[in-house]
Symmetry: C2
């Protein structure tokens, strides 16, 4: 019997709770503790909840730490602090800041002798892998990424800041005609605004001016202006019944040619009932690879691009070749 990979979770929001569930589906892993800046009284699974300030006591007890905080404020601080103590996996997703974050994590991890796998999830993550693969196979081609149908937390927050709005959710929906055009081998030139519809479900405060809310939303710069935006008002009961989930998904396509009249389309798509439960499942698979990298004496930062898929699976190379190749 191999020793199980000992996992720790830092942060107990939606992503941390998803990771807690995901570890259970992997018999070669065990969850040691959940670490939080808050004083949690208990966890869903019953594993100990530990105050984050005491995390250093777990250096010998945790093989891989899953960093389940947000990119904007949590990871930029916690990432380097925890990579100095543990092998880590995180979902850092502020695209423009990835090179800087990689450099910081690489330096900290090399000095500490740890592995820091950054920017894991589905975008960045699985979508990035498919962009790389498709571009390497079809050098002459065009990439397309469509997001949705899914909840955009940022846009939902923006809706909730509109005066008169009590509760709201925004779904990003790819325009099916453009996705179909790409699938059929055409190369439509289209911006993100042309390719996506923004579908808003809004619970208004009693007595609010609905027309004013709708105008305010549709003309909001950066978020909704320039997009086809639909606003549906509904009761709080309807909202609670139908709009509390966090589904997401999307499609990455590359359309390319190998000869003037010979085209190909490569497509990777996700349809997710819960964005955080899926994202954390990806983190857990990459925790296994991170553990193996550490066992092979690798140190420093890496991304999904640097990890062979064989290391994501609990199966041996022989089993993988026999069963999945």
């Amino acid at each position: 019997m191999m020793q199980k990979i000992r996992i720790g979770i830092v942060g107990y929001g939606n992503l941390g709770k998803g990771a807690e569930l995901a570890v259970k589906h992997n018999p070669d892993m065990e969850l040691v503790a959940v670490f939080s800046r808050r004083h949690l009284t208990e966890t869903n699974s019953g594993v100990p909840a530990v105050f984050l300030a005491d995390v250093a006591n777990y250096r010998e007890k945790v093989d891989v730490m899953l960093l389940c905080g947000g990119s904007a404020t949590d990871l930029v601080e916690q990432g380097p602090q925890l990579a100095a103590l543990f092998n880590t996996v995180d979902s850092f997703d502020t695209h423009a800041k990835i090179p800087g974050y990689f450099a910081t994590m690489d330096q900290v991890a090399k000095e500490a002798g740890t592995v820091a796998t950054i920017s894991v999830g589905w975008d960045p993550g699985l979508f990035s892998l498919n962009r790389l693969l498709a571009g390497a196979v079809l050098p002459q081609g065009t990439d397309y990424t469509f997001w949705g149908k899914g909840v955009s937390q940022g846009h939902s927050d923006a809706l909730r800041h509109v005066p008169g709005v009590k509760e709201a959710k925004q779904y990003t929906i790819p325009r099916e005609a453009i996705v179909s055009a790409v699938r059929s081998g055409q190369n439509p030139a289209s911006s993100s605004a042309e390719s996506h519809i923004r579908d808003c479900y809004v619970v208004a405060q009693p007595g609010a001016d609905l027309a004013a809310i709708e105008t305010k939303i549709k003309t909001m710069p950066h978020y909704f202006a320039g997009y086809e935006t639909h606003v549906t008002f509904l009761s709080e009961e309807e909202f609670q019944a139908n709009h509390t989930g966090i589904p997401h998904g999307g499609v990455v396509l590359r359309s390319g040619k190998t000869s003037p009249a010979v085209g190909h389309v490569i497509e990777f798509g996700l349809k997710l009932d819960s964005n955080p439960e899926f994202t954390s499942s990806v983190l857990v698979a990459y925790a296994r690879a991170t553990y193996r990298l550490a066992q092979h004496k690798f140190t420093g930062a890496c991304t999904v691009f640097d990890i062979p898929f064989a290391w994501l699976s609990p199966k041996s190379g022989e089993e993988l070749r026999r069963e999945l190749l």
Copy 2:
């Protein structure tokens, strides 16, 4: 200026000709020669055609040899012979014999100090990668593979052996209702026969008994019996006009759950105008990775499972993180 990766091609059928095209799309590579058992007078690109018996003279001139013969008879012989002399990439696709072929190639390559990347293409290859990835991310789930719409060479050959048939082509078509059910998160139990339709286009010999041909086809064991099979008779002109291409493609899906009521679907699909041109483009991307493995002093056999995607791309790690992550 980096030195270009020097590529050789063994075998000059559809796959070898596709590889010849694919190398041209990769500015970091150059094609040195095409090797054949036949005495070729020329090649499409103008590179030298060399008799395969003289291949050993090219040991210092070729970095990676693309083996473009068939699995059934060519690769089982040529694979070990050429892996003793060169780094190789092949598309060995006899699923049941992969473990044995891997063992042979691994031993030969280790002794020779070469790298042998085997079973590259889209199935085995890109489809296998997606089966592994999806299974690692969603351990609780079900895999589905659908092939087509595409030409099955084996089934087309079988049609041509029916008495009275002059020319024929068989397209395998996935049953859209079953694919849609999987996409929507259902888990239909269905065999390959239930999931695919076999669509046959047949040019009959003059005066042949069409009804007899159709019955013979539809009742042919292993190939068509048990499948929904359509037979369309057409003139030789129509056949030449509409059925000489070699399109293919398919979809790999995994449907899985992270909680009892929370499901996800991961999908990878290909739509290919030319099966051999696409397959050889995958071989060429893996030639780049094979070259890098050799530069890192790796020796032995490997598969797509063992190679980080970063090594498939001509871009640096920094470029990949900035542009594609």
